[in-house]
């Protein structure tokens, strides 16, 4: 069943968000269920942490400005310390 364009786009964004937060902001690998529910508090806090670090408005939402920065090439070193 082909997905509706907007839905597919949202899924892709959620995958990118999950990978981004896992790779660079220390989101636990088993937090998948939280990412799928992006309104959940731990994920919102992680998005805000990322937005604060990247100098973006801390909306806690996966807005277009945040997505744009996440899609840019970058250094692979995590933005938070292990």
């Amino acid at each position: 069943y082909p997905l509706h364009g907007a839905t597919r786009g949202e899924d892709t964004s959620m995958d990118l968000l999950q990978q981004y937060l896992e790779n660079y902001y220390g989101l636990a690998k088993d937090a998948t269920q939280f990412v799928k529910r992006k309104d959940s508090s731990p994920v919102v806090k992680k998005i805000q942490e990322m937005q604060r670090f990247l100098g973006l408005e801390m909306t806690g939402k996966l807005d277009s400005g945040t997505m744009e920065v996440m899609r840019k090439p970058r250094c692979g070193v995590p933005d938070i310390g292990h």
Binding site: Y24, R52, F53, L54, G55, V69, K72, P73, R74, C75, G76, V77, D79, G81, H82
Partner: protein, 378 residues
């Protein structure tokens, strides 16, 4: 700025680096130049110096790799992750890895190697990602249109100087405590009565006067000298050089800093450099050259180090026996250490602070005292 957790940093100022392999995207010379220029970005604002080695374990090992490459943090193919690097320390620490699935370029048509290398080497020295979007250490790649005149942001300078200080090196080359505030490096002015030079040389009939990251270029035909950034002509050259001289017969100018030297021919940086000064025959006790001059007629090059000098035979390409000798014995009147030396009209001009001594090598005496910037018609 941020530093890594625990603030790891190098406990010495003289670091080694090795370029382990090359990307097929660029010539070896272009990779060498990009890495050298990236290191000099940090060298210019700290007491750190970098020497290249070709074998064995260097403090900073630079390599290109794709996918999984032995550190359990695989690269991800084209895009997104461009490179990563490790904080100071032994083994893998200090190393910088570049994703060879990127298209590495010298310009901005692909991913600019110099810019990414400068960022990664910041990690190698102990800087973590900065939250300042203007900083080189900001995690997101952002190319600058004006690559030739690239400068660190004040945030980067503050960060690296919080680890290593700005310029002071103790005699044993251990790291001096950081200074309280990083000074802004001022642009030198040619008619400043206190102006001193790092080095002076001829280049194809013109005179070059080096100072910090700049140089003045003076032709006998022009009244006003031109003023340029060294990096705008020769991106791989360091700033604050120690000595420079031209071997006119080879159309080559040799530039010295620390225990390394570079060769340039006009605008071209010669491949195979920097080389160690010890390949010229200096003993290990010589750490740097203060000044140098090559006599076109005699085909001899004079290297001044402290109160002594060495003489190099350009025909035999070897250091002459019987040296070093005392400067004051063979150049009566030139007593103190010299900053630079220049030859014109059959005279040697020794620069010492804001003074200049005109020395007649035939009469073996100082014939005039001048201000160092007398060549600028101030």
């Amino acid at each position: 700025f941020n530093t890594f957790p625990g603030t790891p940093k190098w406990g010495k100022t003289q670091l080694t680096y090795r370029i382990v392999n090359y990307t097929p995207d660029l010539s070896r010379e272009a990779v060498d130049a990009a890495i050298g220029k990236a290191l000099r970005v940090w060298e210019e604002v700290t007491p750190l110096t970098f020497s290249r080695i070709y074998d064995g374990e260097a403090d900073i090992m630079v390599s290109f790799a794709v996918g999984e490459h032995g550190d359990f943090i695989p690269f991800d193919g084209p895009g997104t992750v461009l490179a990563h690097a490790y904080a100071p320390g032994p083994g893998l620490n200090g190393d910088a890895h570049f994703d060879d699935d990127e298209q590495w370029t010298e310009d901005t048509t692909g991913t600019n190697l110099f810019l990414v290398a400068a960022h990664e080497l910041g990690h190698s020295l102990g800087l973590f990602h900065s939250a300042n979007p203007e900083a080189l250490m900001y995690p997101v790649y952002k190319f600058s249109q004006n690559m030739a005149q690239f400068r660190l942001s004040q945030d980067d300078v503050n960060g690296i100087q919080s680890l290593y200080g700005s310029a002071t090196v103790s005699p044993d080359h251990s790291v001096a405590p950081p200074e309280s505030g990083p000074p802004e490096s001022a642009t030198p002015t040619m008619c400043d009565p206190a102006l001193t030079f790092d080095a002076v040389t001829t280049l194809r009939g013109e005179a070059l006067f080096f100072k910090d990251r700049y140089f003045w270029r003076k032709s006998l035909r022009t009244h006003e000298p031109g003023f340029y950034l060294i990096s705008s002509f020769w991106p791989s050259l360091p700033s604050s050089i120690d000595a420079a001289y031209e071997v006119a017969g080879k159309d080559t100018v040799f530039i010295f800093k620390g225990n390394q030297f570079w060769a340039i021919r006009g605008h071209e940086e010669q491949s195979g450099y920097p080389k160690s000064i010890y390949t010229l025959g200096f003993p290990a006790t010589v750490r740097k050259i203060d000044a140098a001059i090559s006599s076109k007629e005699k085909k001899k090059t004079y290297f001044f180090v402290g109160d002594k000098y060495w003489r190099f035979d350009e025909k035999r390409q070897s250091m002459e026996p019987g040296f070093p000798r005392k400067v004051a014995e063979d150049f009566p009147g030139v007593h103190s250490q010299v900053d630079a030396v220049y030859e014109a009209f059959g005279f040697f001009y020794f620069f010492n602070g804001s003074l200049q001594l005109e020395f007649d090598p035939n009469a073996k005496k100082v014939t005039h005292f001048l201000k160092s910037n007398s060549w600028f018609n101030c």
